[in-house]
């Protein structure tokens, strides 16, 4: 095996890892805030990809330019989901943990059905954009531009999330997370914060979905696979930790790439899952987890 092939695969893993990290960051944010695992996370990613696809079809604009619109749409979807479903799920007296799992899971099936209804089950993809098909040649290592752009956008999004966590709103998020009941006393509306937190988490997925749509096919079932990786990434990094999501995403991306290269492409996911289980044996709350 040549060095350039190895580098090629390593860089590919890195680029994919950043996408995984961003998808996971949205999930982790919601979890960290209110201890809810959103099992419809993959379907929201799928929605973001379809939104990008449809907007691209109608406007002909490049997916890169559609990021703000798509993330805004997803922000709205996140707030709506919180207000309509999650807020209620959090207030039930019985089985709260299980109700959360199955409300979001039911929502996932609902969204998947709706996507099938509107778009049918076929694979579709954005075949014309500024970047599609272009590559950057770095001393024999080719970087596909859509992926590279996606990775850069992911890094920017991570930066933005870190900045947000330092603002007034970010501190309110943090306070709400620390003590749900106490914040009510200092005049913070818990449900408003949670709704915005959901919006932010899903908007993050919106960014990831818009970028992913630039080089990945779209179908009603595309979310499931990314969602599983996102859960693994979040658990590996530690629920609620932004930094954990980033590190774990990269680790997962690299492990996937290396397993495909050295073991068997068909088993690439086994590699990443095994790494995850291995880490959890030593750190039951993930790499950066405190909860």
């Amino acid at each position: 095996m040549s060095l350039s092939l190895f580098l090629q695969v390593a860089v590919g893993g890195l680029l994919m890892g950043l996408i995984y990290a961003l998808v996971a960051a949205g999930l982790s944010l919601i979890f960290g805030l209110m201890d809810v695992v959103n099992f419809a996370h993959g379907e929201l990613l799928m929605l973001a990809m379809y939104a990008t696809f449809v907007l691209w079809q109608f406007s002909g604009l490049d997916p890169l330019l559609l990021i703000p619109a798509v993330s805004l749409l997803l922000f709205g979807a996140g707030v709506a989901i919180y207000r309509l479903l999650i807020q209620r799920a959090l207030s039930v007296r019985f089985n709260r943990g299980m109700v959360q799992i199955f409300v979001t899971f039911g929502l996932a099936i609902l969204i998947r059905g709706a996507a099938q209804f509107v778009f049918s089950g076929e694979f579709q993809s954005i075949n014309k954009s500024w970047l599609s098909g272009r590559k950057l040649d770095l001393a024999g290592v080719f970087l596909p531009l859509p992926q590279l752009a996606a990775a850069i956008v992911c890094l920017i999004a991570f930066g933005a999330l870190l900045l947000i966590s330092r603002t007034e709103f970010g501190r309110a998020l943090e306070a709400t997370r620390e003590d749900r009941d106490a914040v009510a006393l200092i005049g913070i509306d818990r449900d408003r914060i949670f709704a915005l937190g959901w919006g932010l988490g899903t908007a993050t997925v919106g960014v990831a979905g818009a970028m992913l749509a630039g080089f990945y096919y779209v179908s009603p079932n595309v979310g499931a696979n990314f969602a599983l990786i996102a859960y693994v990434t979040v658990a590996l990094g530690g629920f609620g930790s932004l930094m954990g999501a980033l590190v774990a995403g990269l680790l997962i991306g690299e492990t996937e790439a290396m397993t495909a290269l050295f073991v068997d492409p068909a088993l690439k996911q086994v590699g990443m899952f095994a790494i995850y289980l291995l880490v959890l044996m030593f750190r039951p709350r993930g790499l950066f987890g405190t909860m």
Partner: protein
């Protein structure tokens, strides 16, 4: 996940337990007679699948409901049971009646192996670890050529043996399989009934509600979880073996997919986790509904069935968080006669 009430509280008085056993026996007889006036294969098949899932959900309930360990990887035990039984039959000529027990035993052992590392994790970490373990084995089975890989295992009808209970093969008649799945579901229900009235039932619920308090009362938490996992895995594996024999063909997609890991607990969750009747009621409502909506609306491939199914899950989870079984309010007003 917080320690929240997961079961409408009620102490099992001897009188109530007897009444439950009688109710169970009556229901068993009624279900045994149910297919007699029904002759179309579609309906009979639907009833068989419903009863099978009632048994599987009950098996899950033993670990997830009573002991509170929300496993989302039960497809592994189902698949292991199916594969062990099917391979013993096709490769070694072992009758499925024994293969079913072997499949259950291997699945129970698998549950112990999975539990050993995973029970150290709590809440969502545990749930996701079980998803991952299930997914790993799905992928491994998919790529393991020795056991047929993605092609799966075909269980041929052996003409020489004819219709046989020992070999669990029946050419056209679905009635024997109806009795077999009914026996399986009754077994799972009986195990749950026995657990509810025994030390294990109390101790497991204590582990679910608050493991720290449970330990201060001399409860051994880890062995409790392991025992629940082994029983749950065994029963799930048995169900998988029966399913393999019933459909005559298995592959990783049909017996080990992650989707199955959700389908197995779903009736228990909708019916009422940690209750005796929850899985039964949940399966009776859910399976026919999803099958009917799939066959009437799913044909178009337009996802209407999925929308109805998903919407229903959301509605029941929100409106009846303690499960449909709680609608039977008479059970709660019971006076204790100790």
């Amino acid at each position: 996940m917080e320690a929240v009430p997961a079961r409408s509280a009620q102490t099992a008085s001897p009188a109530r337990r007897r009444r439950e056993l009688v109710t169970g026996a009556v229901l068993l007889v009624l279900l045994a007679l149910l297919p007699l006036p029904i002759h179309d294969t579609y309906t009979r098949n639907l009833i068989i699948i419903t009863i099978l899932f009632a048994g599987l959900a009950q098996a899950w309930n033993i670990l997830g409901g009573y002991c509170g360990q929300i496993s989302l990887g039960h497809s592994l035990y189902f698949g292991v049971g199916a594969y062990v039984s099917a391979l013993l039959l096709t490769r070694a000529g072992v009758p499925p009646v024994f293969g079913m027990l072997a499949g259950g035993a291997v699945a129970g052992a698998a549950a112990l192996l999975v539990g050993w590392p995973c029970f150290r994790l709590s809440g969502h970490y545990y749930a996701i670890a079980t998803v991952v373990v299930g997914e790993i084995f799905y992928l491994l089975f998919l790529n393991w050529d020795f056991i047929g890989g993605a092609t799966g295992v075909n269980i041929p009808y052996k003409r020489a043996l004819g219709e046989s209970w020992l070999w669990m093969q029946f050419r056209t008649d679905k009635l024997p399989f109806h009795m077999i799945v009914l026996g399986f579901a009754a077994l799972a229900w009986l195990v749950a009934w026995l657990i509810e009235g025994s030390r294990w039932g109390y101790v497991w619920r204590a582990v679910k509600d608050d493991p720290i308090a449970a330990r201060s009362l001399a409860v051994r938490v880890f062995p409790s979880k392991m025992a629940a996992a082994a029983i749950s895995g065994f029963l799930t594996g048995m169900g998988g073996a029966i399913y393999a024999q019933y459909v005559g063909y298995i592959d990783p997609d049909s017996v080990m997919s992650g989707q199955l890991s959700i389908l197995i607990p779903l009736p228990a969750v909708l019916g009422g986790v940690g209750t005796l009747w929850g899985p039964v009621i949940g399966a009776a409502v859910l399976i026919p509904l999803s099958e009917v909506s799939r066959s009437y609306l799913g044909g178009s491939g337009r996802g209407v069935d999925l929308m109805i199914y998903g919407g229903l899950i959301v509605l029941v989870a929100l409106l009846r968080p303690q499960g449909l079984a709680s609608l039977l309010a008479w059970r709660r007003r019971d006076a204790r006669a100790a």
